[in-house]
């Protein structure tokens, strides 16, 4: 597989994965919703990873899957969640005819590139990486020898870049608190000062015959408490009437039971 020539199996992999990658890329540009775009480009990236592996770069293929589809695309999805999924494109063109011009430019550019590369590269031969990999004993070993050899400075600078990027992200998204945090005491005082009912509302249906939510709780004097009915039912006036006879019966029952309790 690492040889210079492309076998029939690799050709099949190329055409299948390449087609899927192009479909993903086109879907990313065309689809209206940003979430669909993110999923399409994830498809493209997975197929690119397959192409890397087919192209004698197994290490890069794994890194592609871990870094791109694993980390970068998930970060994109997180940010989409923060920004709002339905933040679709505005259709107003700030520069007239910009879309059509951009499309023409892109198509022309791709024709130019493909024609130029096609002309220039079709005659080339391919060496293959067998010798280069064998020199160090494998693809990963070969990459490591280069990365920690001639490219060591670049590798070290990469570390500085990553740390700076992490710092930058933290500073950019950090929000300064411009009011002191309110304590629990202040919140409580505010709640009482407003004059509204400070505690929980009474639960509905707390007397013996019914426990449906449309049954009002009874106050000590036997009248029904409107506060115990949930707001939607109260608005629709869907409150069960309390039968005075039932109240008397309940009171009788409670008196009997408390008498029994006293006797015990």
């Amino acid at each position: 597989m690492n040889g210079g020539a492309v076998g029939i199996g690799e050709a099949i992999v190329f055409w299948v994965s390449g087609t899927l990658a192009v479909i993903g890329a086109l879907g990313m540009v065309i689809s209206k919703k940003a979430v669909h775009s993110a999923l399409f480009i994830a498809l493209t990236m997975i197929n690119l990873a397959i192409l890397y592996v087919a192209n004698a770069a197994p290490f890069l293929g794994m890194v592609q899957i871990i870094v791109y589809t694993g980390a970068v695309m998930m970060l994109f999805l997180f940010v989409l969640m923060v920004v709002g999924v339905d933040s679709s494109d505005s259709l107003i063109e700030t520069i007239k005819g910009q879309r059509a011009a951009a499309f023409l430019l892109g198509v022309g550019f791709s024709i130019l590139l493909i024609a130029g590369i096609g002309n220039g590269l079709m005659e080339t031969s391919s060496t293959g990486l067998d010798a280069a990999n064998a020199a160090q004993g494998g693809n990963v070993e070969g990459l490591a020898a280069l990365m920690f050899g001639p490219y060591l400075i670049a590798f070290e600078v990469t570390a500085a870049l990553l740390i700076t990027a992490a710092m930058g992200a933290m500073i950019l998204t950090h929000r300064e608190r411009w009011m002191p945090k309110r304590t629990q005491r202040e919140l409580s005082q505010e709640r009482f000062a407003s004059g509204a009912h400070p505690g929980q509302l009474p639960a509905p249906g707390v007397y013996a015959r019914h426990n449906a939510v449309d049954t009002p709780a009874l106050l000590p004097d036997g009248s029904a408490s409107d506060m115990s009915i949930p707001e939607p039912l109260r608005v629709r006036d869907d409150i069960r009437d309390v039968d005075p006879a039932e109240i008397d019966e309940v009171r009788q029952l409670s008196a009997d039971s408390s008498g029994e309790d006293d006797g015990r």
């Binding site: 190329f14 540009v29 951009a102 499309f103 791709s110 391919s126």
Partner: protein, 99 residues
């Protein structure tokens, strides 16, 4: 099949990414298009490494990936910050530097 087909595929993907950057107005989709262009360049690097029998191309592709990861972190942080102040992810909105 010629290994140069990989380079052609990378050219196609790069062009699609470029069209995406120019046509779309949503900052996040523009950003994804930039990622696609970086990936296309990576594919070309890998293909060239194989054609030349030289691992340097793969090392460069690896560095491109690292830089792209750092770039994504900062770029998305900027998008989130702009969204917080302007309530919009459209790239036509931020015009404060205009005046």
């Amino acid at each position: 099949m010629n290994p140069a087909n990989y380079v052609l595929l990378s050219a196609v993907l790069f062009s699609i990414g470029a069209i995406g950057v120019l046509v779309r107005r949503n900052a996040i989709i523009v950003f994804m298009s930039v990622e696609l262009m970086l990936n296309a360049a990576n594919l070309a690097f890998v293909a060239f490494a194989r054609m030349n029998g030289n691992l340097d191309g793969q090392v460069v592709a690896f560095f491109v990936m690292v830089v792209a990861a750092a770039e994504v972190v900062v770029g998305l942080a900027i998008i989130v910050t702009i969204f917080r102040t302007r309530r919009s992810a459209s790239i036509d909105e931020p015009n404060l530097l205009k005046y």
